[in-house]
């Protein structure tokens, strides 16, 4: 596995995707249980919904970028692996 610049960019997007979707899951579970996240207190209900939506869109964007870069790398023949 060659670790070129593109590999690190893909790694960054995949990590961000993973962390964002985990954060979204944790936050929505906290809000479901009517708890406040210790260092991020949100009182407004509508703001919670919008923030969940933003996090979901952001993680979808990260996944899209990761996929596009993977496809680009495969087309260029830089990476022989499936990813």
């Amino acid at each position: 596995m060659t670790k070129n610049f593109l590999w690190f960019v893909r790694f960054l997007f995949l990590t961000m995707f993973f962390l964002l979707e985990l954060l979204c899951g944790i936050l929505s579970f906290f809000w479901f249980a009517n708890l406040e996240f210790p260092f991020f207190v949100v009182k407004e209900k509508m703001f919670k919904f919008i923030l969940t939506l933003i996090l979901l869109f952001a993680s979808a964007l990260c996944l899209l970028c990761f996929n596009l870069l993977t496809e680009f790398e495969r087309k260029k023949g830089l990476e022989k692996r499936v990813f």
């Binding site: 790694f11 985990l22 579970f29 939506l53 869109f57 979808a60």
Partner: protein, 221 residues
């Protein structure tokens, strides 16, 4: 698991069937929308559903993340294969289909929460889970007439997928127009050739069209 039913299927068709049956098993999501809404109300139900989907998805993402780093967890790999999610199938890649489905189901259900209409969530979930699932199963088993713009899909599959999704969403929403338009739009989008997974395009298009119609026609839907 042997899937023959007296039919002669090619190996990749068996995989497609398995994938689609797994898809249809997502009907538990529709049940959960109803059950949690009855239990906690729509807004808390949405939060709980988003949390559950994200946590389940994170197992799959963690598996692929490790694979990206060169660490193969074989037991999880076998599990995905059992549920019909091979890495490559008939020249196509299915790595992130699960994630697209999870993400866009969640995005769509939060959007339907923003307009406070659980019926949109029902129609969207029925279209992507039952419509897509039955279209795939019937198309693989009995599909003969290919759709000209997308030769991978068949008319038989799409019509049956549309009918199943429409009937179930009508039973849940009691709104003829909403079910008809929502499932119709979803199945048309499903038939279009797209570079992005249909698990992403179908729920979001169905939801956006229904939200738009709700604003235009209001109580008429």
């Amino acid at each position: 698991m042997k899937l023959s039913f007296g039919l002669t299927l090619k190996p990749h068709e068996k995989y497609v069937l398995r994938r689609k049956f797994t898809h249809i098993s997502g009907v538990t999501y529709v049940f959960c929308i109803w059950f949690f809404t009855e239990l906690f109300g729509f807004s808390l139900a949405v939060m709980l559903l988003v949390a559950i989907v994200m946590f389940m998805m994170s197992i799959y993402v963690a598996y692929n993340f490790l694979k990206f780093l060169g660490i193969h967890v074989k037991s999880l790999g076998k599990l995905w294969k059992t549920f019909g999610s091979p890495e490559f199938l008939n020249g196509e890649e299915y790595y992130w289909d699960v994630c697209w489905l999870g993400l866009f189901l969640s995005i769509s259900i939060v959007l339907s929460l923003l307009v406070a209409d659980v019926r949109i969530a029902y129609v969207m979930a029925c279209t992507v889970i039952l419509g897509d699932g039955f279209a795939g199963v019937v198309g693989t088993i009995a599909g003969k007439h290919r759709i000209p713009i997308n030769p991978k899909k068949t008319f038989e599959g799409h019509i049956s997928g549309f009918l199943v999704a429409f009937v179930v969403s009508y039973m849940l929403t009691q709104s003829f127009l909403m079910s008809l338009i929502g499932t119709g739009v979803g199945m048309i989008v499903e038939a279009l050739p797209s570079k992005i997974s249909d698990n992403a395009t179908v729920p979001i298009s169905t939801t956006l069209v229904l939200i738009f119609l709700k604003f235009v026609f209001g109580g008429f839907l």
